[in-house]
């Protein structure tokens, strides 16, 4: 660096660019909530326009896209909630869909002809979240004291029981048919919530995600968030630093559950029907894949990952079908296998792809596509730390 003390600062263009870059990197640190609001507003504003442009406009009308985006938003919310449990606190929750179901049924009880109640949507959002949180606490309080991987199996069992209960307790849940005619939200400003008009749902979901994201970022940077990460990285060390590991883990579990419940309320109000088969293990697994692929522990990475995966599975695979169907390629031979791309239904392979993605991701890039810096350091540290230790020993 001698002789080149300062870079030539004369170029005003370069200086402006650097100022912008500095601002862009400093802003999220200093004004995190503002950045989330601005970012979400930007994304929310631009998505309805993007789908009007080719090639996306060829795949569907704007309303179909917005409807899909609102559904994707539910998964973004679920993934951000599961990220607290899996990504921040390092607990494997395999029954996450159970809380989603509990939130959805809570809304169905609160606002449908079945129960005769008509509680407005907005307070029900909080009620659904609270009910799911209570169930999260009930499940977590006894089990979080146990070894970490028992939690995975207990939540897996819980995720199985909840739909079974909703299915079999048909006096209270109308069994397989589910509860239909669930009321849709009413809000004067955003417009009429309805099947033909997805825009209000889209905007509401965007707002919910923005609020959730701000809260989650603030939680992550709080004392509690640091405690989660400490437990994730070394539970014994965290406990000896005075962290009450059970309470801390329980809070992560409860916050994850309540986010899922919130998503369930929105989902029920949007579909206007809840039935047990909507909340199977498939949902839990999909959300887990989203969190892992997006980058465990990185809130925005997980959100983007969930959105991309949802759109890929709902639009991408479908388009792949029609793409190869349209190409009309003749079948070709791969050794003993005959591959006929036109007859493959790519939608059937969705979970094979998830499975391969999970295994491949863990083996090759455990920190996810959009890693959080700290998580990457941790997931990669075993090998690196070993190498570093050896270097120390040699030195």
């Amino acid at each position: 660096m001698i002789g080149k003390a300062s870079p030539p600062a004369a170029n005003p263009l370069r200086r402006t660019l650097r100022a912008i870059r500095d601002l862009a990197s400093r802003l999220p640190q200093r004004h995190q909530s503002l950045t989330v609001i601005v970012g979400m507003a930007f994304v929310t504003a631009i998505l309805p326009l993007v789908v009007l442009a080719p090639p996306l406009n060829g795949f569907g009308r704007q309303n179909d896209w917005l409807d899909g985006f609102a559904n994707a938003g539910v998964f973004v919310l679920l993934a951000m909630g599961l990220n607290v449990v899996v990504g921040l606190a390092g607990l494997l929750d395999l029954g996450y869909a159970a809380f989603f179901a509990i939130g959805a049924y809570t809304y169905a009880y609160g606002a449908s002809p079945f129960s005769g109640l008509d509680v407005p949507f907005w307070p029900m959002l909080l009620v659904g979240a609270a009910v799911a949180m209570v169930f999260g606490l009930l499940l977590g309080a006894p089990t979080l004291r146990l070894r970490g991987d028992y939690l995975a199996i207990v939540t897996l069992g819980f995720g199985e029981i909840v739909p079974v209960v909703f299915l079999n307790a048909d006096t209270y849940t109308r069994g397989t048919n589910g509860i239909s005619g669930v009321y849709q939200p009413v809000l004067p400003i955003v417009g009429n919530f309805g099947f033909g008009n997805p825009m209000p749902y889209y905007l509401t979901m965007a707002a919910i995600i923005a609020v959730a994201m701000i809260l989650l970022y603030r939680l992550q940077d709080s004392r509690l968030g640091r405690a989660w990460m400490a437990i994730r990285e070394d539970e014994l060390a965290a406990a000896s630093m005075g962290i009450n590991t059970v309470t801390t883990k329980l809070l992560a579990f409860a916050i994850g559950a309540s986010t899922s419940g919130l998503g369930g309320v929105f989902y029920a109000s949007k579909l206007s029907v809840v039935s047990p088969d909507q909340f199977g293990f498939v949902i839990s697994f999909t959300v887990l894949a989203m969190v892992v692929l997006g980058g465990m522990g990185n809130i925005w990475g997980v959100a983007v990952g969930a959105f991309v995966i949802y759109e890929l599975q709902s639009q991408g695979l479908k388009q792949l079908n029609s793409f190869f169907g349209g190409l009309g390629l003749p079948p070709f031979h791969l050794g003993p296998l005959t591959v006929d791309l036109t007859s493959i239904n790519f939608l059937e392979y969705q979970f094979l792809l998830y499975g391969l993605a999970l295994v491949g991701m863990m083996l090759l890039r455990p920190e996810g596509l959009f890693p959080s810096r700290r998580r990457r350091a941790e997931l990669r540290d075993e090998a690196d730390a070993g190498a570093a230790n050896e270097e120390l020993v040699q030195a």
Partner: protein, 307 residues
């Protein structure tokens, strides 16, 4: 309830329990040696039942085989093929999905286990389709003898005896042989075992082979007993077998066998009492209760919390 009915239900419970016990052994052995919940294990069992179906239909068997010698030969072949194939699958899974992550944080292999489970399910689904497939029941399901007027099926007796024989063989192998000693020492302290000259990789691969082969045997038994199989069969059975392993004390092979039979009794009992639809919920509730009140299980010893 009269004696005949009690006897019949007991035999049913033991038969179902034998299947769960065989699967549970694989869970408990793998957990004992590398402390991993092998979520793909239930699907190994399911794949085993499909391999049996494939073998029997390829050989051209449609239903019951009358000739005892042929029956014995075909049964032996079915078990040999299913156990070898599934054992090999288990070793492959361990080699590619778990071994590279042996020193990674615990979350990583759990997630690949979930991934492997879905891969197996989807491979089976794409080969044999999503609907239930019938498995040729080469042992006559109706054939039975009477004990005090109560019909007892030969098939049930065969399954129970076979399962117990396999368990005894496993106990002898783990308890009496050199390789079994290597497995036990690896489970207790991997590094110390390595220092004593135990080849860790081979020992762990062997554990996966045996566990998966037992699941393959359970797959054959399931096919013979139920006469059909479906690509999702591994999920429920796997969960119940894991419950059995936890109930017996995870890491303990005798406990896993015992837990399997207990789950069999619970399931048959709840069906008898008219709560068929709730039997799963009952089993999982038991799982949660055991984990809360007696996490070491019925026969388990105190396990230290690994940080």
């Amino acid at each position: 309830m009269d004696f005949g009915l009690l006897l019949q239900q007991t035999i049913n419970a033991l038969t179902i329990g034998a299947i769960y016990a065989l699967i549970a052994l694989g869970y408990t052995m793998v957990y004992g040696i590398i402390e991993l919940i092998n979520f793909a294990h239930g699907d190994v069992f399911m794949t085993g039942s499909f391999v049996t179906m494939w073998l029997l239909t390829t050989l051209g068997f449609q239903g019951t085989i009358k000739d005892p010698l042929t029956l014995a030969g075909v049964l032996a072949l079915a078990f040999l093929v299913a156990m070898t194939v599934m054992g090999a699958v288990g070793v492959i899974i361990e080699r590619f999905a778990y071994r590279p992550l042996r020193n990674a944080p615990r979350l990583a292999p759990l997630i690949t286990a979930i991934g492997v489970s879905f891969i197996l399910q989807n491979i089976v689904q794409s080969i044999w389709g999503p609907s239930p497939v019938s498995v040729p029941q080469i042992i006559d399901v109706q054939a039975s003898f009477r004990v005090g007027g109560t019909p007892i099926r030969f098939l049930s007796i065969f399954i129970i005896v076979l399962a117990i024989a396999l368990m005894v063989a496993l106990q002898l192998f783990v308890g009496r042989t050199r390789l079994g000693r290597a497995m036990r020492s690896t489970a207790i302290d991997r590094e110390a075992a390595q220092l004593m000259g135990v080849d860790i990789n081979t020992t762990i691969a062997l554990t996966f082979f045996i566990g998966s082969a037992l699941a393959g045997a359970a797959g054959v038994v399931q096919g013979l007993y139920l006469g059909n199989t479906v690509f999702t069969a591994g999920f429920q059975a796997g969960l119940k077998a894991f419950t059995a392993a936890v109930l017996g004390g995870i890491g303990n092979t005798t406990g896993a066998a015992l837990g399997g039979f207990v789950i069999g009794f619970i399931e048959v009992g709840s069906t008898y009492l008219g709560y068929t639809r709730w039997s799963e919920a009952v089993v999982f509730t038991i799982l949660i209760l055991v984990l809360v009140f007696r996490p070491t299980g019925l026969l388990g010893q105190q396990l230290a919390e690994r940080a």
